[in-house]
Subunit: 197 residues, 2 copies
Amino acid sequence: MGRTTGIVIFDEVEELDFAGPWEVFTAARHGHEADRVLTIAPTQGVIRCAKGLRVLPDCCFDDAPPLDVLLVPGGEGTRREAGNPAFLDWLREAAPRCTWVTSVCTGSLLLHAAGIAKGRRITTHWSFVEALRNLGDATVLENRRYVRDGNLVTAAGVSAGIDMALWVVGQIYGVDHARLVQKWIEYDPAPPYAADV
Amino acid sequence: MGRTTGIVIFDEVEELDFAGPWEVFTAARHGHEADRVLTIAPTQGVIRCAKGLRVLPDCCFDDAPPLDVLLVPGGEGTRREAGNPAFLDWLREAAPRCTWVTSVCTGSLLLHAAGIAKGRRITTHWSFVEALRNLGDATVLENRRYVRDGNLVTAAGVSAGIDMALWVVGQIYGVDHARLVQKWIEYDPAPPYAADV
């Protein structure tokens, strides 16, 4: 019986927040085909992402299996789900069984709202650091690609989820395997506007 | 009437190949809301990506509007579509009207098969460089995140599509706007295994 990574998706989830880690965790299955990666939505049916991409989830809260890794992405929809008791209850149920509990971007708002980040060091998208800090109950760090506190690993915005997922893959499958995944997805970026053009 | 960016998707398209540029081009719509970004599939119905993600396309070859930017991602499905006359005919019809014709990863195989890369300098995923070179009719460069030859811009594997899309956004909307997009998606990666751990 392999490991199961569950990536939560919901209306107005930010596309790259989940698609980056999805690519990393699914690529890491090479040589570990008993493991699986699933998208999990609150209910059945099409998810409409923040930028309009429409995705069919693999399962929903009611029929999701126990998870080894839980990943909560961000996006505009987090503001709605942070006030949705059914969503937060599911997170509170799923997280304690997981080896790793992770978030990307404003996904940390949902972990916070569920009480899972209480007293922990976390991070989020740079534009949301102050708002999350003002909620209290957690220490919000900034200018980090991801923050690990025990088994809780929270990433900064959007692309930072890829860095975080590579780190978690390194913890699960070993650093050499994570390096192979990194090479396979050519995550060795040289964005043209990082330095002067 | 705004610009239209069309991202082609097909069965076994690699997820991050299209989701990375999708995030970049849709984020670039901020302040340019008349512009749109569409996923375009050969036919109607659900697309099953290379790693199993299921996506509903916005339109199909028969009802896609004229495009300003065409993006062809890679993935295992490119091997099948490279022998699909209907797919290649559509590319040949769409590309000449575009300001920019682009590919990610093995998407360059499809541009090559359609004759669009004939005599041009192009690139692809590192594992596919030799195979593409052996097909002839194009100069295949390696160890570049993306290669621009006239209005043809081909990216290396998977993540390199993000770098390429940021460059194209810089050409269309200006470098300052591309920098804002890069900052918004926090594409300033520090993958943990790029250097020693």
